[in-house]
Symmetry: C2
Subunit: 380 residues, 2 copies
């Protein structure tokens, strides 16, 4: 398998109704059908869910975080295991985020230099320095199929001048990431994605996109969105960037999202998504279903013996009733966290299948309408 | 299926070497092969483990606790679901303990009368009263296959006079339990076991056993052991009782045990066991293997890429390495609790299969020796 092959993106169909694309993204561990949703396993594992459940749920790719994996267990242990997919036994495609978002969330524990970012481990206070080069070396060592450039994830709100400086810093780092990525010939099984920044400013987003194209990445991510800005700003930033991006490269919208955002952003031309929503919500009792979302903790479920979602065939729905899950929450039996997270992951996988099928059948907008007619039926 | 059938015990083989018996215990939901180990799902669920995993592990019967189920979700919700096996979707045989042990552990929150025991809910402080009759009605409502008499579980140490009074109280309660159990004809699918008490005093144990036989139960449990007394007292109490018990009734040693206790007590003629050990230890990182036990938290496992037990084919062993499980503990990823509990349950199921096979082949003592030769190999 050659470098050219890994990260290569092919379009099967472009919607006649909108910018949505049906495609496939090649990795060294399999071909992803896009649009694709990536569940988040920050520590190389999706909280409470064994890998065999994910495979059964037809999860195509897991997102993990090189920053966390670097701190613990460290790259040496992962390398010795034969890479992250052997270490965590996932075996299927993985994408690692550079940790930019996590480091920049540290606030007082970090210092940003042109050369990289210095930060203190939130675990034990030890000092670390991530240069763009180091971030790439770590991700190469971890062995993810798709690796991300180190970027400065801009927070919201951010004034224009700061947003411009930050975007330009991410750009300089992206160039250095690309050089390091091409350095030595052990990167033939990995793809490198650039991350477009620029906060809510359309001209900065465009500048970032053009410059990233010049560097030439295997795919392009849009970062720094869904960080608190109004939805209209998010969509306009995406709309500013998408027309610039080439058809033959995958487009990844980072950290998103809700069923609403996914339908809308697929419509705008996005191929890849990740979000903690299905698992974090699951751990809090929030359930996503084809008939809308609800919280299983509500006392009205204590003698509701129906399954969570009549249209779901996950282990949770096949085996347990709402009444029993409500009871598990009440007695603090942690199993409910796994069961609800798993159900929500199935929901997301079913959602993406519905989207892909609708693109295949040229019925995207109709399918979107139908989805929300049922999804809003409960009115919660 | 008639009352006579449920709870009926048949011996396939008695060891020529010792008192060990190979048998089967009939319940309305299937036949248990004995000697059998019952994992404990206090709340009707084994902590962190979905029922489908238990079925795959070939768990024959789950133990649950009527006291906890009565407090939450309450018998009405369980009855409406069609009994505990529908409510928790286990579907297979269940035994409910009366809650005697749990209530008597409450110390200051309880008052014992000849008529029953008054206690305050440790959850919300509400007052409750369990008479022997009420305990049986609750267990009938829950719908377990095997239900237990309400007894006073004697603690250790307990002086002779108190132990005698306590044993006699349990006896009076046992008679009332039997009458209530036979009352109304809805008990045809359930079996009732009496519980022999008498602390460490052999004459009291014998008195209790003879009196229980007079009442005539479907099976006989030995309670109030493994509560802190030296092992020799436990074995001598069992030895005092076993010769009195009829061959055609199952014998259940409550709250036990370790692999050592199980081999030893099967040898003395016990058929049924329950213990929180495999799951509680699992949650604490303790792993039971055919080569001995160890704690996965130990740093020496951080780059040990072998599986927990070379002789185990549980999901955990099939999928994960010691290094990865050690890492999950380190990053507080709760999945390790489920994975280690599951592994320990497989260990117990494999142990019981080894024991049953050895009885079938008349090689019990040889198999016991072989088991411990490997089990003590690690020297931990």
């Amino acid at each position: 398998m050659t470098k050219q092959y890994c990260g290569k993106f092919y379009i099967d169909k472009i919607s006649s109704e909108c910018n949505a694309r049906l495609g496939c993204l090649h990795t060294s561990r399999g071909i992803l059908k896009t649009p694709v949703f990536m569940p988040v396993g920050t520590y190389g594992t999706i909280k409470g869910i064994p890998q065999c459940w994910l495979r059964k749920a037809k999860v195509q790719i897991m997102l993990s975080n090189s920053y966390y994996l670097y701190l613990n267990p460290g790259t040496e242990i992962i390398k010795k295991a034969g890479g992250i997919q052997n270490f965590n036994s996932w075996k299927k495609p993985m994408l690692t985020d550079s940790g930019g978002f996590q480091i920049f969330s540290l606030k007082k524990l970090k210092k940003v230099y042109d050369n990289g970012v210095e930060f203190k481990s939130p675990i034990n206070g030890t000092k670390h320095f991530f240069s763009p080069e180091k971030s790439i070396i770590i991700q190469k060592d971890i062995g993810a199929d798709i690796i991300m450039c180190l970027d400065e994830c801009s927070m919201y709100p951010l004034d224009y001048t700061l947003a411009k400086h930050s975007m330009e810093l991410s750009l300089r780092w992206a160039k250095r990431c690309k050089i390091e990525f091409n350095n030595k010939n052990n990167s033939t099984l990995q793809a490198l994605f650039g991350i477009i920044q620029g906060s809510i400013y359309k001209d900065l987003r465009k500048q970032s996109a053009y410059a990233m194209l010049d560097i030439d990445f295997d795919g392009y991510a849009i970062g720094g969105l869904s960080v608190g800005e109004p939805r209209c700003h998010m969509y306009s930033a995406i709309n500013a960037v998408v027309p610039i991006l080439p058809n033959n490269k995958a487009r990844y919208l980072m950290g998103i999202g809700t069923p609403e955002d996914i339908w809308n952003c697929v419509e705008l031309g996005i191929d890849m998504f990740d979000c903690v929503l299905p698992t974090r919500n699951g751990r809090n009792g929030q359930v996503l279903t084809s008939l809308g979302k609800f919280n299983i903790k509500h006392s009205k479920f204590k003698n509701d013996y129906s399954k969570l979602d009549p249209n779901c065939n996950c282990l949770t729905c096949m085996e347990y009733s709402k009444a029993y899950l409500n009871y598990l929450v009440k007695v603090h039996e942690s199993l409910y966290r796994s069961l609800l997270s798993l159900h929500n992951i199935y929901f997301m996988m079913n959602l993406m299948t519905t989207i892909r099928n609708s693109l295949q059948n040229n019925t995207f907008l109709q399918a979107k309408k139908k989805f929300f007619r049922y999804y809003y039926a409960l009115g919660e």
